[in-house]
């Protein structure tokens, strides 16, 4: 305790002493297990992926080919098609996650009846493993035996079974819907937590001033949730961009490439076409896009600066 108090007034050059060096060394020692773990599970695979992206892999043999894999990927129309599909999939999913998540959180924050039960119910899609959720939807949407077609046919809304995952438009809509179904609870949970941190006095003051519900939402709720929503949506974008499980299980990227988002293209290039070098190049490009996007997004929304001012 006394150390802390003392060191705050010591000039910077005093931090070069032997005692401090020892303290720093201790700090690194304490950090070492975590750093080693992170190096093993993140840094090494990342470097390996970079290295692989410069190789032409033929089974167990590889040859260094420089940027040839990147050139091939960028010249391939399949990559640009997948990029377009990814952009559509991510933007629709994330906007829906945020809007629906916010609306659900607002509703769950207000209601008193069966509050806990409803919160658990709405969280269920997020608690279920993505692979399990995708498999459930796969069978619900099955053209011949699926419950959805059965209900729609029974209600007279369709005359013949619809191949939801068999035509490009409906397949894209189906996988996006499932992604929305699965992702909304994450945003809802964060937003609900955020709503509960807003001081009640702000709303009370607004009510005394005669603010409408919309005005309270616009000038109290949203500003208070801004930071949270920016961080949550950025995390959500990163999460959705790299998703493969739902699409992998439900469509595998088909039909005819209609749902082949970049991770699906990466998977198909590696494991179906056996072109690991090109797949690694797609992975690196995907990583770069996510990093650039996250940096730009956080900069545009100026979350960091606002935080510093506080």
């Amino acid at each position: 305790m006394s150390n802390t108090t003392t060191t705050t007034n010591i000039p910077a050059r005093a931090w070069t002493g032997r005692g401090l060096a020892r303290e720093r060394w201790h700090g690194y020692l304490f950090l070492a297990p975590t750093l080693l773990f992170l190096a093993a599970v993140i840094v090494l695979p990342l470097f390996h992926a970079f290295w692989t992206s410069f190789q032409r892999i033929r089974g167990l043999n590889s040859t260094f080919v420089g940027f040839a894999n990147y050139v091939r990927v960028l010249e391939d129309e399949a990559f640009w098609h997948s990029l377009r599909v990814s952009l559509g999939f991510v933007s629709i999913s994330v906007v829906a996650h945020v809007v629906l998540g916010l609306l659900l959180a607002l509703a769950l924050n207000k209601i008193t009846f069966a509050r806990t039960a409803l919160r658990v119910l709405f969280l269920t899609p997020w608690m279920v493993a993505a692979a399990v959720g995708a498999t459930i939807w796969l069978w619900l949407l099955e053209p011949q035996f699926g419950v959805i077609n059965y209900i729609l046919q029974s209600a007279g809304l369709i005359s013949a079974p619809v191949a939801w995952l068999g035509t490009p438009g409906t397949a894209f809509a189906a996988v996006t819907t499932v992604e929305i179904w699965r992702g909304v609870p994450f945003i809802m949970l964060l937003t609900l937590a955020g709503l509960q941190t807003i001081p009640a006095e702000q709303y009370e003051a607004a009510e005394i001033d005669g603010a409408t519900t919309w005005q309270k939402f616009r000038f109290i709720t949203l500003p208070n949730l801004k930071y949270l929503l920016v961080v949550a949506s950025t995390l959500d974008i990163i999460n959705v961009v790299r998703h493969y499980d739902i699409i992998g299980i439900m469509t595998g990227g088909g039909p005819a490439g209609a749902t082949e988002v970049l991770p699906a293209l990466l998977y198909n290039t590696a494991f179906r076409a056996n072109r690991f070098g090109e797949a690694a190049a797609i992975g690196v490009l995907l990583l770069l896009m996510v990093l650039i996007f996250a940096a730009m997004y956080l900069r545009i929304t100026r979350v960091g600066q606002e935080d510093d001012r506080r």
């Binding site: 033929r58 089974g59 099955e142 079974p161 068999g166 039909p255 005819a256 490439g257 494991f271 056996n274």
Partner: protein, 418 residues
């Protein structure tokens, strides 16, 4: 016994146990069929009896769904951890260096063992002159009909269609409300490609030139005509079940088992699957040669071979297990219970096999068969990706079929020549 002697004895016992355990090696075994219920009792018994006869070897089955089989194998092969005994796309795996040549092990076997395989059967398991697998079971494709639905439609089961015109006439008669004559396979597995090839061959067409350096799906008019006729059963004639782009072997057999489709083009193993799905259908099916527009049209014979992976540390034990699994006893059980046709020529006259009329018919039809997979290193990719994508596109945009398959020819030819 002195105290020291007692301690020594305890030490010996303590060390001997782990030593014995260390001598027992574990070999993993991965095929796409281990998860199929009709085969499960057989492979479990095979492993149990092999381990009893070979106490130094433990066999660990790797259970992987069919659609993930290749992915799992490639991932483990890349990590140099592939299961010792595998059944995979042999040419592609051998060309990629994932498999160990087996010629040395094969050469040590007596002539009586080696003579059980016809040279042409062994050639299907070779790549660049080396033996990479031992064929152990297969299946020839034929047309399987639901007798009840055929009779209900006023058709004669004893006189199944021989030409495409006759087939179309049958198909129209077999189609009714919520019931179709057949299914078009367009799902993302190579079963789509297998069935498409049978239609092409049945019209005298070819999908590739003789040395597999050029694709001729659109270039060969007979091939394109066959593709259009087959896909037209859904897009034009309306006699095929909905959702062909998501229909694979699984959906097709379920539809057949439920009586939603009256006929399916499939291999002998589909019979066991259908009966497993609907036991009431047993005895109500019949099989016939696939209708064709040329005399003596070949069918497709899928060959499954057991291979040893390059990363296997115990090839001698793996070979021992492969030989054990090739035994007549298991081949007969596989044929009778799982409907997998034996590929050893010394099994043709086994009484259990001859007693099954449906198997006999499949064997007869298979006398004129072309082996599958096709021998090219890029085959796994071409069969699952390129051809299936083209089929899906043509099902979705029938008017563009010519253009789609012309593009396919260009793309696949490029891959064949790489």
């Amino acid at each position: 016994m002195s105290r020291n002697a007692l301690l020594a004895a305890v030490a010996v016992i303590a060390l001997a146990g782990p030593a014995a355990a260390q001598n027992r090696v574990t070999i993993q075994w991965q095929t796409p069929n281990l998860t199929e219920s009709q085969y499960e009792p057989i492979w479990k018994q095979t492993i149990a009896e092999f381990e009893a006869a070979n106490p130094d070897v433990k066999v660990e089955p790797i259970l992987v769904a069919r659609r993930d089989h290749w992915t799992k194998f490639v991932a483990s092969a890349q990590a140099r951890q592939a299961p010792c005994v595998v059944a995979v796309d042999l040419t592609t795996a051998a060309a990629e260096g994932y498999l160990r040549p087996m010629d040395d092990l094969w050469a040590k076997e007596p002539a009586s063992f080696r003579d059980a395989w016809a040279p042409e059967m062994l050639s299907a398991a070779k790549w660049e002159g080396k033996l990479y697998g031992l064929p152990n079971w297969g299946g020839t494709y034929a047309e399987v009909y639901n007798r009840e639905l055929v009779e209900k439609a006023g058709l004669d089961p004893k006189n199944p269609p021989k030409t495409w015109d006759e087939y179309l006439r049958w198909a129209k008669a077999l189609t009714g409300p919520d019931r179709w004559a057949t299914s078009i396979l367009g799902g993302k597995t190579d079963t789509t490609t297998r069935v498409l090839l049978t239609w092409i061959w049945g019209n005298g067409g070819e999908a590739f030139n003789a040395d597999m350096t050029e694709a001729t799906f659109a270039k060969n008019p007979k091939s394109l005509e066959a593709i259009k006729f087959y896909l037209g059963l859904f897009t034009k004639e309306g006699v095929a079940s909905p959702a062909p782009t998501t229909t694979n072997y699984l959906e097709q057999t379920v539809l057949f088992a439920q009586g939603k489709i009256a006929t399916m083009r499939n291999a002998y193993w589909s019979i066991a699957k259908v009966i497993g799905d609907n036991p009431a259908i047993e005895g109500k099916m019949f099989v016939a040669p696939m209708p064709a527009n040329i005399p003596n049209a070949p069918t497709l014979a899928s060959v499954s071979a057991h291979s040893i992976s390059q990363s296997c540390r115990y090839p001698e034990q793996a070979w021992r297990f492969i030989k054990f699994d090739m035994d007549k006893k298991w081949a007969i059980q596989r044929a009778v219970k799982a409907n997998w046709m034996p590929l050893r020529r010394d099994l043709v006259n086994e009484p259990e096999l001859k007693a099954d009329p449906m198997l006999a018919e499949f064997v007869r039809i298979g006398a004129n068969a072309r082996s599958y997979p096709l021998p090219h290193p890029a085959w796994a990719d071409i069969a699952v990706n390129d051809i299936v994508d083209a089929v899906q596109k043509a099902l979705l945009e029938p008017a563009r079929t010519d253009e789609i398959f012309r593009d396919l020819d260009v793309r696949v030819t490029r891959k064949l020549r790489q």
